[in-house]
């Protein structure tokens, strides 16, 4: 079986796919890729199923070799990447051969970068998914020395690139009302919408703690809400007034009041907001949120048709006559 060999690993690297949907009744949250759009982009670049597992790299990448010639794609938070010193464009697919080393460095912006492999990572599924769910004790961190098995990949097409909007620098996040929005006064909600937040360094796959200037936010009956089901996107306000946006690996129940819920289309931008990126939240109507969801699904549906062939730069092809696309020496201009 083909393998990806991890020769160096950043501190928070995990195998991720779409996670385990439908197990709330058993107390297991969905988990899966922190940035679900990046998962879909990688699948589009490699022309394969969005259900295949990829490597999620939080903050830092690592170094990798392969047992056999393998197609790869890089998506999510842009990171410095090269094969044997030759830099690779992000949001693109490439080929790596045995003996070559792929090196992925730190994030240029954003938080979660993804390394996708032709055929996907083929570790043993647990409860229907290959996604590590660290809080639940399913799977674990990928570490130096690990050999990750890869699924079969019949395809060999050359490098593709994908134009991607910036969802790695914070910005305006749309929210709708949640169970306890009405417990926050109109002026408290207005102050929430007017506040610039940044991602706290303590953020992880369970949730993003938001930091801000000024006082915390207070609801009536702050501490006496009976525990209810909570889901990714919910913005919980803890006892000291700090908001947390829940991410895919959140717990399944909670008793903190929720001021609102981030719409699914904007949740990747919250997960990806890097250090110092500003986040602002804006309540939108249910109708506006529905329209955003419609557009988001259309975008995801159309993704597989969007990758374009990389424009090859003759300067990168010193010996044009012997040039073969499979060797991976393909560069791409920004689209």
């Amino acid at each position: 079986m083909r393998h990806l060999v991890v020769t160096r690993a950043g501190p928070a690297m995990t195998v991720q796919d779409g996670g385990r949907l439908g197990m709330l009744m058993e107390g297991l949250s969905r988990g899966g890729a922190a940035d679900s759009v990046a998962l879909a982009e990688g699948a589009a670049l490699l022309g394969q199923s969005v259900d295949l597992a990829a490597l999620e790299m939080a903050g830092h990448g690592g170094a990798f070799t392969v047992s056999d010639t393998t197609r790869i794609a890089l998506t999510g938070a842009p990171m410095r990447a090269d094969i044997d010193g030759k830099s690779l464009p992000w949001n693109a697919s490439h080929v790596i051969a045995p003996g070559q080393t792929l090196t992925v460095g730190g994030c240029e912006k954003g938080t979660y970068g993804y390394l996708h492999l032709g055929g996907g990572i083929a570790t043993q599924p647990i409860l229907g998914s290959r996604a590590a769910h660290l809080v639940a004790g399913i799977g674990g961190l990928v570490q130096a020395g690990d050999r990750l098995p890869l699924g079969p990949d019949a395809r060999t097409e050359p490098g593709l690139v994908l134009g991607v909007d910036d969802r790695f620098s914070g910005g305006a996040i749309r929210i709708v009302e949640s169970a306890q929005s009405a417990l926050f006064t109109a002026s408290e909600r207005a102050r929430f919408e007017a506040t610039d937040f940044t991602r706290d360094v303590r953020a992880n796959r369970m949730g993003v703690r938001l930091t801000m200037e000024g006082e915390g936010f207070a609801a009536d009956r702050q501490l006496s809400i009976l525990s209810e089901v909570i889901v990714p996107g919910d913005i919980q306000v803890t006892g000291d007034g700090t908001p947390f946006v829940l991410l895919p690996e959140c717990q399944t129940t909670g008793g903190y009041p929720r001021i609102g819920t981030v719409i699914p289309a904007d949740l990747p931008a919250v997960a990806q907001a890097g250090p110092g990126a500003l986040l602002r939240f804006r309540f939108v109507s249910f109708e506006e949120a529905l329209e955003a969801e419609r557009r988001h699904r259309t975008m995801l549906r159309d993704l597989p048709r969007r990758p374009r062939h990389a424009v090859r730069d003759p300067r990168d092809m010193p010996d044009l006559l012997s040039y073969r696309l499979i060797d991976g020496m393909i560069s791409a201009h920004d689209t």
Binding site: L24, E26, L28, G233, T261, L290
Partner: protein, 249 residues
Amino acid sequence: MTAAQGGFPAIRTLGLTGLLVSFADQLSEPANRAALAFRAAVEREGLPGVEETSTSLASVFLRFDPLAVAPGDLRERIAALLGTRDWYSAPLPANRRRWRIPTVYGTDLAPQLEEAAEAAGMTADAAVAELSRTTVRVLTIGFAPGQPYLGELPPAWDLPRQVALTRRVPEGALVVAIRQFVLFSAPTPTGWRHIGQTAFRAFRPQSETPFPLRPGDELIFPAIGRDEFDQIRAADTSGDGGATVETIA
């Protein structure tokens, strides 16, 4: 509470893709039964657009696809279903089991027995005598995979959660607060007091039965000594930790 009152049951929107049906704003046995029975009814109905249902202590959560069903229409279907009976008098789920899970109370394994007993106004011996003979029921599974919330304990155990968290209690810890036990399925920080330790694994990801407990199951935590516990833990490969189980209904 035996029937709908005080604005309950209530249907609320929860983000773009969720509805929450609440049967009470505090835990009661009838409200818990109502939530379990209503969730089962929603599953039986197979409502279009509903993709997942779950319960917590006294509410039912529905995840739906807002592009497959108009939220207003779904709310109407839910309201109609709520009106078909008095859910607070619904029976408990079928196929319930009674588990007896051997437990060490106190010792260095469960260091907060003494302070919990004092907070409940009794000696540690009296606390063990009461807690080890009380039958509790799985009210809900949640927070962490397979993890049961168990109740209700006698009124003396209406202890507030600690303000300061215990940094880490281990898997299998039996903790107490607000007239409930939780049997932790994974190591976790908590504000609940750690009064007993079991070798029971409430989440077994590699097993045929990854989630052994179900809402409605009854649990008893008989007291055993430290030696017996160590033997059980050393010999156990199933995750049952010496527990016995029988069908009761």
